[in-house]
Symmetry: D2
Subunit: 159 residues, 4 copies
Amino acid sequence: MTRVRVRYAETDQMGVVYYANFFVWFELGRTDLLRGAGSSYRDLERQGCSLPVVEARCEYRQPARYDDELDIRTTGALLSPVRVRFDYQVVRASDDVLLAGGHTVHAALDAGGRPRRLPDHVSQLLVRTSGPAAASGETAGPIGPDEGASDRLRTVRRR
Amino acid sequence: MTRVRVRYAETDQMGVVYYANFFVWFELGRTDLLRGAGSSYRDLERQGCSLPVVEARCEYRQPARYDDELDIRTTGALLSPVRVRFDYQVVRASDDVLLAGGHTVHAALDAGGRPRRLPDHVSQLLVRTSGPAAASGETAGPIGPDEGASDRLRTVRRR
Amino acid sequence: MTRVRVRYAETDQMGVVYYANFFVWFELGRTDLLRGAGSSYRDLERQGCSLPVVEARCEYRQPARYDDELDIRTTGALLSPVRVRFDYQVVRASDDVLLAGGHTVHAALDAGGRPRRLPDHVSQLLVRTSGPAAASGETAGPIGPDEGASDRLRTVRRR
Amino acid sequence: MTRVRVRYAETDQMGVVYYANFFVWFELGRTDLLRGAGSSYRDLERQGCSLPVVEARCEYRQPARYDDELDIRTTGALLSPVRVRFDYQVVRASDDVLLAGGHTVHAALDAGGRPRRLPDHVSQLLVRTSGPAAASGETAGPIGPDEGASDRLRTVRRR
């Protein structure tokens, strides 16, 4: 899990966090997920494996505000040997309210920009972290009008 | 249409534009769309109508690079009296290649944060700009694995 | 003290942190300094006291890189009843090397945008944190070609 | 000269532009200055010459607001064969009011990170752009009540 505190720089004149900044927090979430399994993204890049984003999506439920402490909860799943998906929930730490949810999809590329398989230790990590849902093929989707969203929401609130 | 030149600040160490910055360009696209119809977003806010983002999505096809000139092509559609959707294509100006596409959905809120109808001149603008596709219910979707994407892509390349 | 880890979003295509982002870290430094004394900047604003920046300066010695852990060391000093200065050092946590130093000067304004005195508990905090140097009128200057810089640098390296 | 329109993303909850973003506009100013002389910074980097910032400073007089059109007026001067300085003024286009001024100092480095002389056509450009106006003492200096400013200004002006 990743804890961030909202920076003044991240707010806009609406008095809340500017929407694009949630994608920066998503980056922190997936970075910490990889790091937690002993495989920092920095090391991955040094080994000639980059993970550019090919798709990104976020749904916004409640605004995030300056100085709020937020938790970014991230899971990962292999979509194919050369493609990975991360799902994120942004939860306000003080009261466990879900502010936003989303996902990103990444291609695995080698140093020359060609598709390559993820290193085994990363693939295994992703299977593990995505757990039963991924195993059954129901990788976590975006929150919102898709099935499963209300379940996930309940899960968050229950904690 | 909106023309931007990629800023150094927008690149990352992969040597391309950081993915969250496309959403900033989307903001410029919808702002110019509104302005072009005589209704700047600044004026909307002053009249007590804000349009916070409730959903955002982008698909990335080709990287954008430092100093590239890009065109943001934006269309808008009313989803309901209190909800609007904008669709975006980011096209490299030098060779008309589509780099990315996406959309945002916005709630229309009054100064107190309650849902409100968009001003008429904005609603009419959106119907006009989204044109026949919107009229027939096929609002432009994100590029990618959905039907219609290849059509839109051809349209872009043909120009 | 403030600990940050460099975000991918903060790098640029030179492979290092984009220079403007150091000023965002400065913001985190002064925010934590105030919070540490029981006076968060968020509360200050709610009490009708804002501290807009009137001057900002940074000198860059060594680049900061993706995933580096950095410490922002911040001191504050009252320049007048309505003006405050913060000085910052950005130090790489792994080897205590000074990467950059700088300062910001802020006006204290009331809710109407007029100059106002800082709340007493903040003024007292600033005198305390800036210590003897501030008391004697030698507020910490930017690192660089001014006297005192090499002293401060030694202080950092000694720790 | 560089014209920008303030982005929503650049504002903060104080309702004005966040202070670090002025340094992004400075980047646009120096980039356009180089480009105007037929030497884009992108080409410079490709030729193995980068210009990392070693010092940056800004003084803020009036806030910049969302949707404002601003002009960034930039001049450049060689401080030594391997060091260059740019001075900036940020002016609101609608009424020509100076919002902020500042400068950056840059080292010229080769692809290996060692100091190198600037290409001749760039050096000549810098001399030229600081040129006659500088001779007459009207180049844009940093605004502000700091001692030393007038000295620095003279230095710039002399070259």
